[in-house]
Amino acid sequence: MSRETFPGPHDNGRQKMIRLALIGQAKAAKSYGAIRTRLHRAVWAAFVPLTASDGQAGQALGQVTTAPSTEVLFTEQANDFDAVVIDADPGQAAVLAKAAAAGKPALASPLLADIAALGQADTMLMPAHTWRFLPSIQAVKRSLDAGKIGEPGLLRIHRWLPPEATPESLTERILPDADLACWMFGGAPEKVWTLQTPSNPEYIQFHLGFANGGMAMIDIACSLPAGGDYFSLSIIGGTGAAYADDHHNMNLLYAGDQPNALRASQGHTDLAGQLQEFVDAIHEQRQGSVLLKDAMRAIAVTEQIIESASSNHVIQQKENS
């Protein structure tokens, strides 16, 4: 986990294209296929569908070989790819262990496995925190890192989801915003306080206290009707503020009755940015910008948020990681 450099894909001093394998469902192949022409210094080489009916989905990625299983990929086809992207639910945890055992750099969900144990491996593992790569979030973080808005004081996030966009587990729902808060403040919170409504246990609101008076107030609702979601993030700093807010980015559609709001799209830049960072990190033989310890910290805070909700107590951070 403490390693900062990894073996790079060099061939007699010449940099070569990274050959990527995707383990995922048809939906993932379609998403990555839509951005494949944006990728620098990497190509898709292999695809492993997680369900048999998705066998043809790899065509979206271009000219790739389709492996019938992850066992085949990591044994018989191990020489056909350099790194692996694992887009799978936590039930597929063993896949990540195979990638580590095969010495393949991996981009994977932070909830996929015993991530701490895998961090001891010699291969690079970059947790997939796609939410960090949204253009709006990147712009906010850049302003913070550049010192434009000063010391972060108060982070506010509203995330409201319709049923079709709602992750099944509470942990999956909370983790992205717990991570964003830790990322913005550069550490884990000292205090965690959570509320849920008795009338709707699917709703959760958490209040995080960081060092130096920093604070975050975040609510996640899953009760929007089918259709669009809503996301708003603002951060108040000591010398300025940044607002990444769907409310600001709405256009109007007139088609009878009241006008409808149309959100200006941020496209697929989040997915493309994350994948390129993974590829660049491999080329440059460095850690990815999302570290294993970031994922572990977000998971720990998420657990504290849930613990506060169930215990009705303020959770004090034991270790300020």
Binding site: Q196, T197, D219, I236, G238, A241
Partner: protein
């Protein structure tokens, strides 16, 4: 049957900060300012401001409240003093049988709020705590929620950031400099109208402005706050640091009826927003949600050589002042309660005090009702 032609005769009991309140009273056709009055033992700056306001309206300024009440056949009093005197002046007016409108915050002490609630009830007079519940966007939020469009209300959140400066930034006090005196700073701030915390007792942003967003929440959720958990900080202004009061706070709210909510509030500095600040209401229900910008409707105006501190967006169709006074006239005519009466104001103040305590202890605090 009420006489709708009756004009209520109003005394202004001290007018030492921004004078929007007595101006709003005077602007309504049912009310007439007839005298400004205050206690004789007040400092010179108080008398100067009272006199200036009396001169503006061409009415007398008496340095004797009892005498003014005895001589001017008053119906009501408007209190716009320092916060620590709000309740005492209001109680004295109520004990004289006068209806009362008081500026926010209700008081710097909950015991004073309780004393006022008791006086209003005992004297059977009406009391209105000044608020912003009739802003067009707030009315719209209320209509949407009451219509059932978002279903059963689950949670309500308000951001209430004033992007104003408050003297030197945090960290600018030099070694050996004395701490900034709260009252002196507030007196200087009178020039630009940012002296909402005027008085001897220092108040944080939660105490000074918390009434407004908590007033929205109380009205929209139709419930009192039962318990709070708060984080408070001095993040921006040296005067807040020197006087140990917050300028940034976040409060988790649990309401009596099971609804939860939150308030994020701060005096975030002029650089943090192109206008007066981000002020928003988010409400989420069983069938949907609504996002309201409190400033709307507004008109954007930009021009060459525009002063940097002039707001680029101008609120329009804001009838809050008129509607508050209309509401109070209705209360006086019919005996109904105004939109935010003494008990309601007291309960909001109790929420604020609980939040301040929670900010200090780091633990949830029950709100006493």
């Amino acid at each position: 049957m009420a006489d709708l032609r009756k004009k209520f005769r109003v005394a202004v009991l001290s007018v030492v900060k921004h004078d929007y309140l007595p101006h709003a009273v005077a602007a309504h056709p049912r009310f007439e300012l007839v005298v400004v009055t205050d206690d004789a033992d007040q400092p010179d700056w108080v008398h100067e401001r009272n006199q200036r306001f009396a001169d503006e309206f061409g009415i007398s300024y008496l340095r004797d409240i009892a005498k003014a009440i005895a001589e001017y056949e008053l119906d009501m009093a408007v209190v716009s003093s320092e916060a620590e005197r709000h309740c005492d002046l209001a109680v004295r007016a109520a004990d004289a049988g006068l209806h009362v409108i008081a500026d926010k915050p209700m008081s710097t002490r909950l015991s004073e709020c309780d004393r006022l609630v008791e006086a209003v009830q005992r004297n059977n007079v009406k009391f209105l705590l000044w608020n912003r519940n009739f802003l067009p966007a707030v009315i719209q939020a209320k209509e949407v929620i009451q219509s059932g469009a978002i279903g059963e209300l689950h949670a309500i959140h308000v951001d209430f950031y004033f992007s104003k400066d408050a003297g030197p930034p945090k960290g600018t006090r030099q070694l050996g400099d004395p701490p900034i005196n709260w009252l002196e700073r507030q007196l200087k701030a009178h020039a630009d109208g940012s002296d909402g915390g005027v008085g001897i007792e220092a108040m944080g942003e939660l105490q000074i402005e918390g009434i407004y967003p908590l007033g929205y929440i109380r009205m929209l959720a139709n419930a009192n706050v039962r318990r709070v958990f708060a984080r408070t900080a001095t993040h921006f202004h040296q005067v807040n640091v020197d006087n140990h009061v917050d300028d940034l706070a976040s409060v988790s709210l649990e309401l009596d009826n099971g609804i939860v909510g939150s308030l994020c509030i701060g005096r975030t500095g002029a650089a943090s927003h192109p206008d007066i600040g981000e002020i928003k209401i988010h409400a989420i229900g069983s069938k949907g949600g609504i996002v309201i910008t409190e400033a709307r409707p507004e008109v954007s105006i930009h021009y060459r050589d525009q002063p940097p501190l002039e707001f680029r967006n101008e609120r329009i169709a804001n009838e809050n002042d008129f509607l508050l006074m209309d509401d109070f006239a209705r209360a006086l005519d019919t005996g109904c309660e105004p939109i935010l009466n003494a008990k309601g104001g007291r309960d909001i103040a109790a929420t604020v005090f609980a939040a301040v305590e929670s900010g200090k202890t780091g633990q949830p605090v029950e709100v006493t009702h």
